[in-house]
Amino acid sequence: MSVETLHGEPVQSDDPHQAFAVHYKERKQQDESYIVGMWTFLVTEIMFFGALFLAYIVFRNIWPGELSEISREHLNVKLGFINTLILLTSSLTMAMAVQSAQRKIEGRVYFFMFATIALALCFMGVKFVEYSKKYNENHVPGPLFHYVAEGAETKATVAGVEVVKTEGSTEVAHEAEHGRKFSLEPVKGSATSSAQHAEIFFSLYFIMTGLHGIHVILGVLVMLIIIVMMWFKSPLVADFMPIEMTGLYWHFVDIVWIFLYPALYLAHPDLQKFLHG
């Protein structure tokens, strides 16, 4: 990355920390170009996630009470807390990795890069636990989605036989999983709409955390590639700039989660009172 060259021409110095591609005038210009370029890219990422936050705010505004209720009941604040802790720590280790690279202490670079990767994998592990719970509860939006508000009675028609079920009974979920024909009719008028609210909430939840998770995985992949290239002494990573770029990206991923956590997990009923007037 740092030895970006014009038509593959060699870089102009033997010392990787001084080398720069031929279309630059000096090393400083190249460094700042990379940093500004990365920040410009992060601007696009901000707008990218910003649009998702916008959609979320819109629906939180339309059904303030319902969505925060669903969030409180079905998202695990503790797991979210642990994940925030993990990501913040990984930001620290990433910052240390960048610093070590700047100081050319190779051993420390490896250590902190691996630490960051390990923390990122822990993060994804916790996410996996959360996702699989949602999957088992049929809260993944799509054809299998099924949601009934806590305690609400429904009249489920399974194979033509009417049975009254309460949410939490595994049987309904079981039927749904096996694609058997069944329909749920709400006993209370609000059950359908609460299922709609839940589907939209979970859609946004999965898209937001999912895209964030994809960013985490991409970050891990980039770090692994850099480590492998460092191991084989590739001239492309002889310099600290690739790690610094990765660091900027990683901190951004962390910032997204810093906002995702309170927005998704810490929905307080107080908001409900406010918006219902």
């Binding site: 910003g50 819109v58 610093q99 660091g247 962390d254 927005a263 307080h268 107080d270 908001l271 009172k273």
Partner: protein, 121 residues
């Protein structure tokens, strides 16, 4: 390598060919500690009904998002080293966060759509 004093301001490595300013570890640790405190503050804010203390509706989510903004700023300034960046880096670090509210202007529609009793056309 551990000889570098890690508690002085803006340590500079004086290698023969290369000179790069780096942030001392102590700064990172201080910011990390600050982030931890803020994290607990966020969670705390979720469990205390703040609008009972100060009668501003929706205070909790406002406080939580403000805390998140402070946390993000700390990450941007220190971890991402914008604090030591050139003016150009400052500018482009700010552009995204400054521009985002423009898009949130879309919310204006949702806040004012029902202000009229007339039926929408």
């Amino acid at each position: 390598m551990a000889k570098h004093s890690e508690h002085s301001e803006a340590v500079v490595s004086h290698e023969e060919h290369h000179e790069h300013h780096y942030t001392p570890t102590s700064h990172f640790l201080v910011v990390f500690g600050f982030l931890m405190i803020m994290l607990f503050a966020t969670v705390g804010a979720a469990f205390v009904d703040l609008s009972k203390v100060v009668p501003i509706p929706g205070l909790n989510i406002i406080v939580m998002l403000l805390i998140a903004t402070v946390k993000a700023s700390a990450v941007v300034l220190v971890f991402m080293e914008v604090r030591k960046g050139t003016r150009l880096v400052w500018m482009w670090a700010a552009v995204g966060f400054v521009w985002l509210p423009t898009m949130l202007g879309i919310l204006g529609d949702y806040f004012t759509r029902n202000w009229t009793t007339a039926r929408p056309w």
